[in-house]
Symmetry: C2
Amino acid sequence: MKRKCRVFPTFELLGKKWTLHIIKELSWHGKKRYSELKRALEGVSPKTLTERLRELEKEDVIVRIVYPEVPPRVEYDLTDKGQDLSKSIDSICDWARKWYPDELRKA
Amino acid sequence: MKRKCRVFPTFELLGKKWTLHIIKELSWHGKKRYSELKRALEGVSPKTLTERLRELEKEDVIVRIVYPEVPPRVEYDLTDKGQDLSKSIDSICDWARKWYPDELRKA
């Protein structure tokens, strides 16, 4: 493919700690509440998780669903765009599996 | 794909400014000398370019070829692993083309 690729901002976001974790968690297990994400992403700080969720929301990769309940329930889910991105990310994962097989076995 | 992806370090490197530029430049135009890369990557500082090249070399994504000439000639090229990575990156580019069509037209 010889066309120019203008997606450096995407890679910048994907390169930030926890971004991929969040996308993959939602892709594998479906929508999640903040507290569930926090538990699934062992070690993430509340500040960072909130920041990443906002960044991903701003890019329309995830959506924040607020249920009209008392107390209000909030869940995060991948958008169609986010599900598409998740599939594209898999091709980089495939590359890593091929070229870092030892590292994956240890995981 | 439901398997765990352990490639966060790869995305971290890809998310750094100029990493993608370097990979794509070598992928599209073949091996290049430092000065040619510097010219192709308009605006990159010598310090950053050197740093990125070293990081990519350390990951075996690119190779530094030193020709036994006087004065010595040095060129950078993608390894097989790097060419593979370049192909995987294209899937993220495809995603961006699909979801940011306006941005691409402006480019």
